[in-house]
């Protein structure tokens, strides 16, 4: 396993060109082309904003907000901070579930390191996430969000932790789906539930006490809170301990997932 893991950097060039291909191919033939990378998150944001600001107004007026919240900044900006990384996360896992099966030709007919496929999926979605960031930045700057340079230094750390976590889950989902196709269908629903079980459309503080306890078990809670603290809330990031702990857990989980993937590797060519 470690041997195979050490081989990964050798596929750098392959991964790079596959990610580029993925991005190029995705919008080939559409009128807006690459612009979709910007327009998509914007539309998504619009939908959620309409739903939670007008149709079903969220009540964010609880008295226990630790930091000045939301009076000056619209809810949509808060929403955006969590929604954008979530889209990266959810889309990655959804695509990973099918990636080995749709890439079956490569696995069966070409000597091809299978782990490259889920990795490319996660990375391509990360690039989309990056494309969405300028929109977020425009919003933040427009509303004069209280971002400090010191806080921004944490941003790459959060992205890195999320990347490792997503890679681990992606590898695991990809490998298991080859044997249990059911996962593809289950996953869509699990992700839906997961989304609402993560403080993205509501702030963590608004969850009831028992809910908070559960939310803390959800790894994405800590990512979402970290993003929100860095980008949205005033004041220094208060969640960094959780974040670093999650980082360690993510690395361990990634290794575990890679181990499982590696053990199942030889069965892929026969099963897909």
């Amino acid at each position: 396993m470690l041997h195979n893991l050490a081989q990964l950097p050798r596929y750098r060039g392959l991964i790079q060109s596959l990610v580029a291909r993925e991005l190029k191919a995705r919008y080939r033939g559409s009128v807006l082309g690459f612009l979709w990378s910007f327009v998509n998150p914007l539309l998504l944001l619009l939908v959620y904003s309409i739903v939670f600001a007008y149709i079903m107004p969220a009540r964010f007026t609880g008295g226990d907000e630790p930091k000045p919240f939301a009076d000056a900044y619209p809810y949509s900006v808060f929403l955006f901070c969590g929604l954008l990384p979530w889209t990266w996360f959810a889309a990655s896992l959804n695509e990973c579930a099918g990636v080995l099966i749709s890439g079956g030709n490569l696995i069966k007919k070409v000597l091809f390191p299978a782990e490259v496929l889920p990795i490319v999926t996660v990375l391509a979605n990360m690039v989309h996430f990056f494309f969405g960031l300028p929109i977020l930045v425009i919003f933040l700057v427009y509303y004069g969000a209280p971002i400090t340079f010191g806080e921004l230094l944490w941003f790459p750390v959060i992205v890195l932790v999320q990347l490792i976590l997503t890679l681990g889950l992606g590898l695991l989902v990809a490998a298991l789906t080859v044997h249990f196709r059911d996962i593809r269908d289950i996953l869509a629903n699990v992700l839906q539930l997961w989304f609402f079980a993560t403080p993205i459309i509501y702030p963590w503080q608004h969850a009831p006490d028992l809910g908070k306890w559960f939310l803390n078990l959800n790894p994405f809670t800590h990512l979402a809170i970290s993003y929100q603290e860095v980008l949205f809330f005033r004041g220094p990031i208060g969640h960094w301990r959780w974040l670093l702990a999650l980082g360690v857990v993510s690395i361990a989980f990634f290794l575990f997932a890679y181990f499982v993937f590696d053990r199942l590797r030889d069965t892929f060519a026969e099963e897909v």
Binding site: G13, L14, S17, L18, R21, K24, A25, R28, G29, N105, L106, I107, K108, K109, V110, L111, F112, L176, H179, F180, D182, I183, V260, R263, L264, D266, T267, A269, E270
Partner: protein, 450 residues
């Protein structure tokens, strides 16, 4: 010199797809610690059994065998795409596998981008692909289309591009799985030239193919797989010969079984004639009796009054052996055993040869041969002796019949007997006249190949 490819007792067992899943639930699968072991079910299929081969560097090994004999499995083992269930597979040097051409092409992006990505997948660096790019495009003959998305390519263009990339990877070991039929004559020649070039440069080639001519011409060694085991290996000419003999024997058995079935169902009356009057040559000319209209309705069957019965029909080769497979130009006897419980004096024995399309190749009877019947009683045998079977390669069927001079059938066997004519010459048509070519003037030919 080191071996480029080495298989030692390599076996590959595939699982058959069972109707039930291996695990009752996903949970139990995750909880059981033996995840991999549990994935190994009882129902298995041995695709390859104890194969030991070594190919030394610079050699070309041809792998032949019937469909499902394990050729492709062996290739996949050598390519490292699957692992042997037991045994060892060792390959020295960079491999390029022409197993499926253009595997991994993305339809939406241009040929140019696909060449780069495909090259990188096959182990080249970006710079190496760039260096070879022009050569690849030229080889694929796609200069005008290289910037169009691959989805707009015809399948031939797709294959050519895939082939071009794969052979320009500059492998030490080239694995080829029946991919030479990817283009027109010109392109096929180019592919063969490329292989020849590989050979000259001392590359090792593993060629899986059904084209025996290619094996004889190209390969230094031949491996014959049958049911996942090695049936023979060594000199291509010898192995190909043995393989062909085996195929003939198999065909022989299949034809015999097919004939037995046809005769059985005819005897049981399962197939009955819709028009008993479509008799082989009573006194009417052949054209009307076996005209085109009848041909299309031709179905095997047996009918007649059985006042005279055909009890057995055997095809006998020049060597006196009964069989179903003959070679063009061979002698062939059709032996017809007859039995007439009561003596008859009005009888005609006839025979017709039809090809697979139902075209009557030849038909005659004793009346046409101006033999006047006098008496037939008890057991008798008629032999229709063909001095030389001058037919092109193909499967032929026989009509055998005894009937009265006016066409009233005693026993009519329609298309119940099958034989196969084999020929190494791939000439076309039905009839192969004995012939030679002669030339005069300024004409010259190279020596025949081989």
């Amino acid at each position: 010199m080191a071996n480029a490819i080495e298989l030692t007792n390599a076996s590959k067992v595939y699982r058959r797809f069972a109707h039930r899943r291996q695990f009752a639930t996903l949970k139990s699968a995750l909880l059981s610690r033996s995840l991999v072991r549990d994935l190994r079910p009882e129902e298995t299929f041995a695709a390859l059994t104890n194969v030991t081969v070594s190919v030394s560097r610079g050699q070309t090994l041809g792998v032949i065998g019937r469909n499902g004999s394990g050729k492709s499995t062996m290739l996949k083992l050598v390519a490292g795409i699957t692992k042997p269930t037991s045994g060892v597979v060792r390959v020295n040097g960079r491999i390029s596998a022409l197993i499926e051409l253009g595997a991994g092409f993305h339809p939406e992006i241009s040929g140019r981008e696909n060449v780069f990505i495909n090259g990188i997948m096959l182990g080249l660096s970006k710079r190496e692909v760039a260096e070879r790019f022009d050569e690849i495009v030229e080889f694929a003959e796609l200069q005008d289309f290289i910037d169009a998305p691959v989805k707009t390519y015809s399948s031939g263009m797709y294959m050519r591009l895939g082939f071009a990339v794969a052979v320009h990877v500059d492998p030490d070991v080239l694995l080829v799985d029946e991919v030479l039929a990817v283009g027109d004559e010109g392109f096929t020649h180019k592919c063969l030239d490329k292989f020849a070039e590989f050979k000259r440069r001392g590359k090792t080639i593993l060629l899986v193919t059904h084209s025996l001519g290619l094996v004889e011409r190209f390969c230094d060694e031949t491996l014959w797989l049958d049911g996942g085991r090695i049936r023979g290996s060594g000199d291509p000419k010898r192995i190909v010969g043995a393989y062909l003999t085996d195929i003939e024997e198999r065909e022989e058995r299949e034809l015999a079984a097919g004939d037995a079935k046809a005769q059985h169902s005819a005897a049981a009356g399962i197939v009955s004639p819709d028009e008993p009057s479509s008799v082989v040559l009573p006194d009417t000319p052949i054209e009307t009796a076996t005209g085109l209209g009848d041909m299309f309705r031709a179905a095997e069957g047996r009918w007649g009054s059985r006042e005279v019965e055909i009890t057995e029909v055997t095809l006998v080769g020049g060597d006196g052996q009964a069989g179903h497979v003959f070679h063009t130009g061979d002698a062939m006897d059709v032996r017809i055993r007859l039995r007439a419980p009561l003596p008859v004096d009005d009888f005609v024995v006839g025979i017709g040869i039809f090809n697979a399309e139902g075209v009557c190749c030849y038909g005659t009877n004793t009346s046409i041969a101006e033999l006047v019947a006098e008496r037939l009683s008890g057991d008798a045998e008629a032999t229709f002796s063909i001095a030389a079977l001058d037919l092109v390669e193909g499967t032929y069927k026989l009509d055998v019949a005894v009937h009265k001079l006016d066409g009233y059938p005693y026993d009519y066997h329609r298309l119940l007997y099958t034989f196969r004519v084999k020929s190494r010459a791939k000439d076309v048509g039905i009839y192969r006249p004995r012939h030679t070519w002669r030339f005069a003037g300024n004409v010259k030919f190279k020596d025949a190949r081989g």
